[in-house]
Amino acid sequence: MRSGIGTRILGVATVASLALLAVMALVITPADVNQLDAVRLIYIHVPMATVMYVAFGVTALGSILYLVPRTRAHKWDVLAGAAAEIGVVFTGLVLVSGSIWGRTTWGVWWTWDARLTTTAVLFVLFLGYLALRRVGGDPDARARRNSIAALAACIDLPIVHKSVEWWRTLHQKSSLLDEETFLHPHIHGTMYWTLLLGIGAFLLLFSWLLINRYRLAKLEDRMEDQGLERALAERRAEALTGAP
């Protein structure tokens, strides 16, 4: 029962922190001098991008743990799949919120900017990974195939992160996730703390989603096994009775 209570507490903490974030982001923090109130999109866009990196990082870790013979266990493949699905949801939302923000600041919904393009590629790569997970086969071969595909897709992660440094882009440089801006942030006061609150709230949400999606995936596996066992039992019964 302890685990169930822990998940519920995590759920309550997630909802409370997201509610606080909404108040801080939309009411308390000041508007920006240049971007005016459109800057308030930063409090969801940057945290969701952070969760995107973390989610695909968990996918990479799960895939590595599955591929290493010493740690190989089916649970790592399940964890990788659960994290990837959540990562795809967040990547989609990063693209949508970024597009809305881009419309207000750049005047266009979309441009083939390096950061935007590499993020869109990441989205498509992991959609492909999720599709690949549905392809049948021997469970071990499937998990190995999934793990290799996930690691191949993860090559795009550092490219997304570094794209604003490697190429000349419209997208601003990293807000927090590099050494210079982390130690000497360009944003201050309530804006800075609200952004950190947003990252914390969305990481709590990611943890809650991951726990529940992992449990759902385990249940799906169990139901699939049950269905297979039932079908085999029916076949055996048919063979014994000679029925078609």
């Binding site: 169930g4 508007a31 459109a38 809305i100």
Partner: protein, 46 residues
């Protein structure tokens, strides 16, 4: 406040999609758990 429409769209889509996704996970998990025989159900995962 400026850009109200964009803010409603951004926050609305984000929280709407995430709430729907969370509800789908919980709903499907409960539906599958109900299909399991009682002895196989995990009391930690209601």
């Amino acid at each position: 406040m400026t850009h109200v429409g964009y803010l409603i769209a951004g926050y609305g889509v984000t929280f709407g999609v995430l709430a729907s996704y969370a509800a789908w996970i919980v709903g499907k998990k409960r539906a599958l758990a109900r299909e399991l025989p009682p002895e196989e159900r995990d009391p930690r995962w209601p």
